[in-house]
Amino acid sequence: MKKKWIFLTVCLMALMGLVGCSGNKTQETGEKTQAAVATEAPVSAEKTVRDTLRTTQTAIPDTCDPAKGSGENDDLIFVNIYETLVYPNATTGDAEPLLATSWTSDNDGLKWTFTLRDDVKFSDGTPMTANDVKYSVDRLIAIGEGFSYIFKDVIASVDVVDDTTVVFNLKKSFGPFISSLIKLRIVNSTLLKANQLDGNYGENGDYGTTYLLNHSAGSGPYYISTFNVNDSVYLTENSNYWGAINDKAPKSVEITGLLDAATSKMLLNSGEVDLLHGRQVSTTLKSLLTNPEFATTSIAETGMNYFMMNTKKAPTDDLHIRKAISYACDRNAMSAIYGGMELSDSPIPSSFWGATDDVTTYPYSEEDAKKEIALSSYANNLADYPVEIAYIQGNGDTGKLAMLLGSELEAVGFTVKISEVPWVLFCDNAATVETSPSITNANSNASYPEAGSLLEVKFSSMTAGTFNQNEWILDDKLDAMIADSLATVDNDARLAKYAEIQKYLTTDVVPTINTFVGAVKPIWNTSVFSWPAGEGSVHVLEEYNYYYADFMMK
């Protein structure tokens, strides 16, 4: 008996050894592994390799429910499976018709009437109607997560007039209402109602949230065919798509969550992945670009990288100290760390509608920094107030930015402590003034391409106590200015108000160093596909560059 077991064990080990030595026929047969192409997948079993695009993201979200997700990784998937009433123009970000063909409003902007297309079908073939629009709005606001914060205090109700006409009644004037609709994704109410379970939302049960944990319910050019939570997502072309998809677009897209740099490099080099996400560290990018078949491009994000100074904690509670830190920061050197990034004097990226070029930030000057320190209330005891600079662990090269700023501050007399902090702790620390570090480094992004969105999520009191605002500005005047600008329906007047806020922030408050405009640098195999962003037509909104229906497989 014992011998039998020993024999079996040795056989199994030998088998594993043999398996290894037999060689990997993966590439020859076209059979792929989990993150590459599926061997047994119902989706791609019949596809040829060139029909399938294989790409990576920094992570795969826990659900692709448009009422829940609001991060970059959610958006990159959302734009392919859900559609919105309006579409942002590629260069200006202005709203253009998509599911809505036209819209009108009353004079004070409290009532908006949309006419919808009558030829739109969801991926299961169900026609889209005004009921779906109403259901999507009600659902988003009831669930209260994701982008609901934009609409919950704005939309009072939605009325269905007929199948192609829907009326939005607003609680208050909201200038960027049309721009913000790019975050209102329309879901298939028939499908979700048919799959709803018991839940917290009365007669709507769970609002289909359980169903959307691994399915999609949209009208976009792709739908989710397989969803492996926190691992991979498989999109398949929507045969019921109402619009045009170019002939060479991938029939299926396999998106894998992948952070490990060494594995990413090997997968791209070996041809098992075609496109790597844009948050590789500079050394990975540099080494991959030695291959002439690989290319990269810079895609601006809807926000900036900021050093956020805590205005309620010594010594950064002193305006002169904040100005001194701003002068001591060499933004050109920081941009160079990232391979050359766009700088902006305003706290809003210059490509944004509403960004002003009428402000000047503090140029790098050790001398001026020292002068400001001398003017501050900490001039004689600065060493007693060490400055802590915290950055997020694993967030690309931001650690290098923190270290550079640290050395620059030490050069002008500050005592500096630099901390690398895990994401959850970073958020926890931001929750109170006492635990918020003197300075943090993080990216903040707008929800829709207008200055007002970034001003609100970055500088209004609404986000104090979150990672978006380590500054703890809590300035009633600023809050009133932001609220007033957002309530202004007239575009020119709103633009002027945005400019005033940016001036006020830059000269009177100085809460933040605008390090540079955030950008991602994806890297891809040019022999496999081409895409508009790679050809120089970069969409103003990052996620729309990953609209796979525009990709051309080779």
Partner: protein
């Protein structure tokens, strides 16, 4: 036989008590971690209403003892570990999905540790103080001091990227109806698809080897020491005098007593494999339980953390119980002492 059963029963009761205490301690300690896990999950801009709703839904607004009682009742009666904030699903579903893959990884690694660890230890002991012994000792020393991820990168680079003998991480994907046990090699066999079974083993080979290699080295050193120690024992001298053949002397008289320390250390190593596998899982793109455990901890997912700790506790306890039973079978003195 009876003594052995009493011993096992006693150990089983000990394990139950330990698991109960462990779960309560972890449950309590999670509450001490600063910050609100619900707010972290829903994001800074989630409405107060949705934060309160989820807090209530997860029982996090009740006193600690009530929360623990509710949790324990659900675990015992329904096998329900609560809802994960990381995946928005019941934790038990996550465990069902992730655990089999990691158990498969660890089982195959454990097999490698046992076979190669004992093999190299025995060879080293039999040829002690020769060049063979010196080479094995040098290599095992190297294996012990080198972290698994270093082997992982090296193996990926050489055997996957350059030689293309193995895939660059990842596991073959199964359509949902073919996933029965969640252990891919077994599922492939149940499908009757032998080529897929081979492919699964091929995908597991490098991660298993990377995970096991340090333990193989350690195991080999322990086994060698135990054998060398027993070589000088009286019963070996008697066996030699009695004219027992060399092979019988090694494999019967020397191997069995030398196995006791080997088995004890083996148990600890096998039990810790699951906890140490997260880097290997990440590197080889195996979406397994270790990586899940790390993610729930980093995301401060309360029910996820309690569940993974509980599962780790169960695995640690069961593996050690098995080892203890093995040791009892090998050494009657322990059996008799345990039954007292």
């Amino acid at each position: 036989m009876k003594e052995g059963l009493i011993y096992v029963f006693k150990r089983f009761i000990h394990i139950l008590i330990i698991l109960l205490v462990l779960s309560f301690i972890v449950f309590s300690f999670i509450r001490l971690i600063p910050g609100d896990p619900v707010k972290s999950t829903l994001g800074p801009l989630a409405s107060e209403e949705s934060v309160n709703r989820m807090t209530h839904e997860l029982y996090l607004d009740r006193p600690l003892v009530v929360q623990y009682g509710h949790w324990l009742k659900n675990v015992v009666t329904q096998g329900d570990f609560g809802k994960s904030l990381l995946t928005s699903r019941p934790v038990s579903l996550d465990i069902k999905e992730y655990l089999p893959r990691s158990l498969e990884l660890c089982f195959l690694s454990a097999l490698m540790i046992l076979v190669f660890g004992v093999l190299f230890g025995t060879i080293s002991a039999v040829f002690r103080n020769t060049w063979i012994d010196n080479v094995i000792r040098f290599l095992t020393y190297l294996g012990v001091v080198t972290p698994p991820y270093a082997f992982g990168v090296l193996f990926l680079l050489i055997f996957s990227y350059l030689l293309k003998w193995f895939p660059i991480g990842g596991l073959p994907r199964f359509s949902p109806e073919n996933v029965r046990t969640g252990m891919l090699s077994i599922d492939a066999l149940l499908m009757g698809n032998f080529s897929l079974f081979i492919k699964v083993l091929q995908s597991y080979f490098l991660p298993c080897l990377s995970l096991a290699i340090g333990s193989i080295a350690y195991q080999a050193r322990i086994h060698r020491s135990a054998m060398v120690e027993n070589v000088n024992a009286d019963f070996i001298a008697f066996a030699e005098v009695a004219g027992v053949s060399k092979s019988k002397l090694i494999f019967k008289h020397l191997m069995k007593p030398s196995f006791i320390p080997t088995l004890t250390v083996y148990g600890l190593q096998v039990a810790s494999l699951l906890g140490n596998a997260f880097i290997i899982e990440s590197m080889f793109r195996i979406n397994g339980f270790s990586q899940y455990s790390l993610n729930v901890i980093l995301n401060k997912d309360p029910y996820g953390i309690v569940a993974v700790t509980f599962i780790f506790g169960v695995i640690f306890a069961v593996v050690n119980l098995c080892i203890d039973i093995g040791v009892v079978a090998l050494d009657p003195r322990i059996r008799l002492k345990g039954a007292e």
